[in-house]
């Protein structure tokens, strides 16, 4: 564990500044280590203290205080970076697979993993001239890239598709007071990372007959060939829904969330109360995000941090309250 930091206060307490570099190693992490099914055990991934992971990053924060006039305010901003590396998994050097993700020693945990999108087949000739995908592959199906050049699209044609962890997160706070009013607004957010959103993917299924997202109206058909959404077909032998980087399958999970807005009024002290404050607060005010889901602020699993499978949405809360102390 390494920590190097710097704390400064400048200009007569008007500016606070903190910078900190950290590097920490976590060992003996619980890992489900796969054993072959041929062992016949009902638990084919017994849990062992076999994992070791490093996290490192830089945290910066600065706060400006201006209390010189009647309108007092503080502005604070912070940002931090994260770099993650798995040192050991204890799985005999084998990677651990999660939902659409793979964790390998020497790399970040839970990186997105799957096939590579090359476009949509427009004709039967194109299908016949391409590496074999399935017996039912036809115009309108997705063409996947043959990574190892063996003219067949199979498990060896999958690769790392990008990071499922945000590398940058930040927060902003603005607090102000004027006479008896106080006001604060807080926001936080994360930078770009790739999200495998299971709800969006399941609403964009090619096969069967369950409900769809309205985006499916733009799916490929002979009248609508300039699209990157594959055709709708009852039996999807081509596996258009498989883990891949096809457009829409790995979305940018970056977001900025206005997390709290609060306004309060402190009533001047009277006979009974030594202090009295009324406030209105809204939490989870608004989130700016491109993710096609109701909750960009989700918790994925250990081995698939970028996998959002119907995580419970954070509600928006309104609070009205009184804080007072009796003499």
């Amino acid at each position: 564990m390494t920590n190097i930091g710097l704390d400064m206060t400048l200009f007569d307490h008007q500016l606070d500044f903190t910078a900190e570099y950290y590097k920490s190693r976590s060992s003996d992490l619980l890992v489900g280590v796969n054993i072959p099914l041929s062992v016949g055990s009902l638990n084919s991934a017994p849990t062992v203290n076999a994992g070791t992971m490093d996290n490192a990053g830089l945290e910066l924060s600065a706060t400006y205080h201006n209390h010189k006039h009647a309108f007092k305010y503080d502005i604070s901003a912070n940002g931090s970076t994260l770099s993650n590396k798995v040192i050991s998994l204890g799985n005999n050097g084998q990677p651990i697979y999660g939902a659409g993700a793979r964790t390998q020693e020497g790399q970040e945990v839970g990186r997105q993993f799957g096939y590579v999108y090359e476009g949509i087949f427009q004709s039967v000739d194109e299908v016949n001239n391409a590496p074999f995908q399935s017996a039912g592959t036809g115009p309108g199906d997705i063409k996947f890239k043959d990574l190892n050049g063996d003219n067949v699209i199979d498990a060896s044609d999958r690769r790392d598709l990008g990071s499922a962890l945000p590398h940058f997160s930040y927060g902003l706070t603005f607090m102000a007071s004027y006479k008896n009013f106080d006001f604060s607004i807080m926001a936080n957010g994360v930078g770009k990372f790739l999200v495998d959103d299971a709800i969006y993917r399941s609403l964009m299924h090619s096969d069967g007959g369950l409900n769809w997202s309205s985006d499916i109206l733009n799916s490929w058909s002979t009248d609508n060939t300039t699209t990157n959404i594959p055709r709708v077909v009852y039996v999807d032998e081509n596996g258009n829904g498989r883990d891949s980087d096809r457009p829409g399958w790995l979305q940018n999970g970056a977001y900025t969330k206005i997390s709290t807005i609060s306004i309060g009024y402190t009533v001047p002290t009277r006979k009974i109360f030594s202090s009295f404050r009324a406030y209105v607060t809204c939490q989870n005010v608004y989130t700016f995000s491109d993710l096609k889901d109701y909750n960009p602020d989700f918790a994925g699993g250990v081995w698939n941090p970028g996998f959002n499978y119907a995580s419970y949405p954070t509600p928006r809360t309104f609070m009205v309250g009184l804080n007072f102390t009796l003499k």
């Binding site: 399935s134 498990a155 032998e237």
Partner: protein
């Protein structure tokens, strides 16, 4: 104060050293471990029952095994949106289907769990005292049969796999290499020969806890499977010898009504050599081990095979070829082959006037009159192992899945008769014995005497005749495709063309892909494992 300090120090010391008392180290009777088990004869008996349990789960006979075998045959095809079914049926399923640990790995997973349980019986039996040798032999004999049965299914489906014949004692034994095809079949034969010598012909007259119990493996089951193994390996003389033993023992008899082999009544009848015991006992579903005590212990096969119009999933349909095959020959009384009625759901006008119990009433109503089902038979459906031909129900499986109580008949006496005829034909050509044993099966279906309708067949022609007889007798019973494999039709260009004309799924057949691929997840986890011809 000082005295108080010394007294408390003394008390604490006494407590620390006195607390090393083993009285607190007790075992939890509600969470039994293997350290508390495997002590008595009844523990071994429970261990054997636990091994049988693996025949009732999703990866084995409750659904996936019959489905993935039938769909590869020319008697069944699939247009299910669950693509594992059509992809297996047209021989293009890949090893990493849905991540490599999905459906095509369930058969592998569940049979290895069965093998592990049998190996636990073998590991622990030497340390247990048995009340009598006969009972001990019956228990061990069943374990040998079940282990052989598991390896038989693994070899038939996956071609090569590791041969695990004892409980692994150390983690270093968790990564065995695949065994060769020959050594797997030799091990199966060896276990079956042991089972054959240890099992009774029936449990009706044994002395012990298992007296009177039906459904346990018998001498007949071990001998029948051994004969079938010899047929698969091409050793016709040994096969014929085993089948003759069964016929001469005079234990089994074909039941008069073919349909009695496919309902939840008339189970374990005189024709049954080995059947998987499904029930309708509890209330809860259970697809994998460990199983719930509230489990129905039912089969799920009626839903993928059953009619969507009656609440089932309709994942599989019979081929038009199988239907036409039934219509090639009428019974002596001019009626349609009764086996058509019990195998397929089709509209036949004459069912309404046959007067022998057949009718076009399905699930208590007349769907062909209301156009709910297609009377032109462009769409036909599977009847076998569904509730479609069983009176007293209005929807498939009474809406419960898995919940079908229809036992899966793994081997019936008619198979012994037809295999015996086939073996004799291979050894000596179509002798009168060959005709005789085939005719026993035809007689039950009231078909004319083959020796009169087709006398003087050549050996090759008799092979085709037997193939036809087996298609009708064993349609949609998990048998047809394994027959196609052992007859080597897939590597015979004429026969492969024939198969393509029966079932267009054969158009994408590629050599080697008659097997399911070794699951990718298993190849990823076990670096010593070999691929098979389908990987």
């Amino acid at each position: 104060m000082k005295l108080f300090k010394y007294i408390s120090l003394a008390v604490m010391t006494a407590v620390i050293f006195g607390s090393c008392d083993k009285k607190l180290a007790v075992t939890d009777p509600n969470a039994q471990t293997s350290a508390d088990f495997w002590k008595t004869e009844s523990d071994i008996a429970e261990g054997v029952v636990a091994t049988y349990n693996l025949l009732l789960v999703d990866g084995t006979f409750a659904r996936t095994l019959p489905a993935l075998v039938d769909v590869r045959g020319d008697d069944v095809n699939s247009q299910s949106p669950w693509t594992i079914y059509p992809l297996t049926g047209n021989f293009t399923v890949q090893a990493d289907y849905a991540g490599g640990y999905d459906v095509e790995s369930w058969i592998w997973r569940d049979f290895y769990q069965m093998i592990a349980k049998a190996n636990l019986v073998f590991y622990n039996a030497p340390n247990v005292t048995f009340s009598n040798d006969d009972y001990k032999n019956r228990l061990l004999g069943q374990a040998y049969f079940l282990r052989a049965f598991a390896y038989y299914e693994l070899a038939e489906n996956y071609q090569v796999c590791p041969l695990v014949l004892s409980k692994p004692l150390d983690q270093s034994e968790y990564f065995p290499a695949s065994a060769s095809e020959d050594s797997i079949w030799t091990a199966i034969e060896s276990d079956l020969i042991k089972a054959q010598s240890m099992l009774p012909t029936s449990y009706d007259n044994v002395t012990g806890e298992d007296q009177g119990q039906k459904g346990r493996a018998t001498w007949g089951a071990a001998t029948g499977l051994l004969g079938k193994v010899y047929m698969i390996r091409g050793d016709y003389a040994k096969a014929a010898a085993e089948f003759k033993k069964i016929i001469d023992a005079n234990i089994y008899k074909l039941v008069a009504n073919y349909g009695d082999n496919f309902t939840m009544t008339n189970e374990n009848n005189t024709e049954s050599i080995f059947e998987i015991q499904f029930g309708d006992f509890g209330v809860d579903a259970n697809w994998v081990e460990p199983s719930l005590s509230s489990w129905t212990q039912g089969s799920a096969l009626d839903f993928p095979y059953g009619l969507t119009q009656y609440g089932a999933w309709g994942d599989f349909h019979p081929t038009q070829w199988l239907y036409s095959e039934f219509k090639k020959e009428r019974c002596k009384d001019g009626k349609l082959d009764p086996r058509l009625y019990w195998t397929l759901v089709t509209y036949e006008k004459e069912y309404d006037t046959d007067g022998d119990g057949r009718s076009n009433t399905i699930f208590g109503e007349k769907p062909y009159e209301t156009n709910k089902l297609d009377a032109s038979n462009n769409n036909i459906y599977i009847a076998k192992y569904t509730y479609a031909r069983i009176p007293g129900h209005t929807i498939e499986g009474d809406g419960k899945v898995p919940g079908s109580g229809i036992n899966y008949r793994f081997m019936r006496y008619s198979e012994i008769l037809l295999l015996y005829a086939e073996a004799l034909n291979e050894i000596n050509g179509p002798t009168s014995d060959v005709y005789k044993y085939i005719q026993m099966v035809r007689d039950r279906a009231d078909l004319p005497d083959l020796a009169t309708t087709k006398p003087g067949l050549s050996k090759e022609e008799m092979r085709d005749q037997i193939a036809h007889e087996r298609a009708l007798e064993f349609g949609v019973e998990g048998i047809r495709f394994f027959d196609i494999m052992r007859w080597k039709w897939l590597s015979n260009p004429d026969k492969l063309s024939l198969l393509k004309s029966h079932d267009s799924e054969f158009n994408t057949y590629v050599t080697g892909h008659e097997y399911l691929p070794v699951p990718q997840g298993e190849l990823d986890t076990n670096p010593n494992l070999s691929k098979n011809s389908a990987n």
